[in-house]
Symmetry: C2
Subunit: 391 residues, 2 copies
């Protein structure tokens, strides 16, 4: 979209705005002079950009700068706590979640509501939930700068091509809900949240264990979505081809063998909380169920590591809570099946965000979008302010 605009003054303004806002995000509490030094722009240009960012409430002016040495103290500027917020919505198979984050990525509000979403009423329900989240933002007195929606399915150009666990095919959420969103696969949003707020590793595969199983692959600090955007699909890796039938028509797929429903079934547990209690009291059935899942997960993930030689596996979703019991049998299976572990070990790490990662990533992606192209936000939200735009 940005690429289709004519180059020239607008492009320069766009670039400068992103540069200055990025420097403010990197070093909160910096003066205009400090920003000029950090960006290489003139103080006049920095001041002009900062004034426009302040007018749009992307940036707030704070106390006088604290530093030693001669010269006048400038006032410092930071990302505005009352500026546009990112709203993330996750449509899980058995829950809805929202998360509201400010420009620094700090969570200001969140909620999870459990309900089986395998029903045609899901769109009404999402619409009501979205309304509720917006009301929460209103009550906090903060504007919503955009909405990201995480779905457990394959998304192509905003269209949910396939979400088997919801029974969706070619669902256009913008059309269904009457507004536009950033829609993406929940595993990809979760991997981004892990990248932004988690272990700070540059290369990893984040496995989201839920009713379905998805993977988000991060290479060199960027999401790898596959050549055409539908990468990271590991839920239907055939880990036990002669195993029980999967909803997809094949047999013994990874999510059939190691997904939440199979683990709970084998453990005889009703909920994940029940399962954790049983594991903590060393219940044989519960430990057996999680150990079996770890073995299947190891078969599936050995494939990912053998193909991409990725040095770390981050356990997300319910797997984050099950990590103490999953870790050892999973590592053993990986070491057995990945020859390169003999000289290049693979780490298994617990996601700090767990089941909250996808919705956090959905909210954060809105903020990252604004920080990467503030000019677009300014011109969208302040379109009549011709004088300020002309500067």
């Amino acid at each position: 979209m940005i690429g289709t605009r004519p180059a020239g003054q607008h492009t320069v303004r766009q670039h400068n705005a992103a540069l200055v806002l990025g420097a403010i995000a990197d070093g909160p509490g910096t003066s205009r002079a400090g920003l000029a030094a950090a960006t290489g722009l003139t103080k006049a240009t920095v001041s002009s950009v900062v004034d426009r960012l302040i007018a749009a409430d992307l940036v707030a002016e704070g106390e006088p700068e604290r530093r030693v040495g001669p010269g006048r103290r400038g006032t410092v500027v930071s990302l505005s706590p009352t500026g546009p917020h990112g709203l993330g919505i996750e449509i899980g198979v058995d829950y809805l979640a929202y998360c509201l984050v400010d420009l620094t990525g700090t969570v200001r509000a969140e909620e999870v509501r459990y309900a089986d979403n395998r029903t045609p009423r899901v769109f009404q329900r999402v619409s009501a939930f979205l309304h509720k989240a917006r009301k929460r933002a209103d009550s906090l007195g903060v504007p919503v700068g955009g909405v990201g929606i995480a779905v457990p399915g394959l998304v192509e150009s905003g269209l949910v091509r396939l979400a088997p666990n919801l029974g969706w095919r070619d669902v256009d959420l913008a059309d269904r809900l009457g507004e536009t969103f950033t829609v993406a696969n929940e595993a990809n949003f979760a991997a981004l949240a892990e990248l932004w707020h988690g272990s700070a590793l540059p290369d990893f595969v984040h496995v989201s264990g839920e009713i379905g199983i998805g993977a988000g692959i991060v290479l060199d600090r960027a999401l790898f979505e596959g050549v055409r955007g539908a990468g990271g699909e590991i839920g239907h890796l055939p880990v036990a081809p002669d195993g029980p039938p999967c909803s997809c028509g094949a047999n013994g797929c990874l999510e059939r063998m190691a997904g939440q429903e199979e683990i709970l079934r084998q453990a005889g547990a009703g909920t994940v909380d029940d399962l954790i209690s049983a594991l903590e009291s060393q219940d044989d059935a519960a430990i057996g169920a999680v150990t079996a899942a770890a073995g299947h997960l190891g078969v599936g993930l050995s494939t990912v590591v053998n193909l991409m030689d990725v040095p770390a596996v981050v356990l997300g979703g319910i797997y984050a809570r099950l990590e103490p019991w999953l870790r050892e049998p999973l590592l053993a299976e990986l070491e057995r099946r990945v020859p390169s572990t003999a000289w290049s070990p693979v780490r298994v790490i617990r996601s700090a965000l767990g089941t909250g990662a996808a919705v956090r990533g959905a909210a954060g992606s809105v903020i990252r979008g604004i920080l990467a192209d503030p000019e677009h936000h300014l011109t969208t939200h302040w379109p009549s302010d011709q004088d300020a735009r002309g500067r």
Copy 2:
């Protein structure tokens, strides 16, 4: 290695030499004036670089330029047919191959010798074969600019960490053979050859079917070797976990189920030539063996496509010859197991180079190295020519 040199005049010379040689390679038969226009360098700089490239026989001067319009006709320059050649050696499980290519990538000599290399005598044999290849270059009157060696194993920084089908672990070929080489995985060299001389696709996975099975992944016209260089390992994907035991200790690995030895065994054929004859006479056992292999290959490759959403599979090695019989059952299995094929079809393509791809890639990588950094070649081969270097 190049990165550790001090920046400055040498870096500029290095850059200019690569720029001019690249323009000559792209448009063979160009005058110095044409090169100046193509590179943006001054005619004086181009002339100086061209003189040095001619002195090192990387470039040869040809006939006067053919063009219409006013002005003096320049003589055209092209990559020198007598310049440094790339020598590729492939150490297969049951053969050795060499391939000698000139600077344009044209094959000048090649040979394949069948022999079981699963013996400690393999190093002597490779040494003798290398000597023979060098004598062939001598008899053609061309110098060898470097040697690339393709091995069926995992290579890390030139060290063959593991080549299970040869029984190698931590083998240093430079140490064993007393000279330095570019050593890499055969599947990666094969994928590069396919990229340079094959279907011209920007994104594909090249599957080398031999006794072992390897994959070379090309993304955006570059080899993707995984985060740490050991990617593309598909030989031991578990396609039939309850299947017969594989040499690696696991059961039903892809190469155990769909490798050359299993196909020949099931078909009751002694050699690949016998197998092809049987297929051509519609022998049931032969067709059954190849169809079964296609199914297993489909299970393994569905994983690659689901993970990386790569739009094309190139059948290499013996699979190139078997393509007429593999193609349909392989596509059917991919379509069954890759949900995104419903809107993003996957192509199955026959490699034009077949079993010759890896050795061709090994030879070509030497040439690509010289073209990418001719200055390194010049200073290595003309180290005492201080005057020419100073220009």
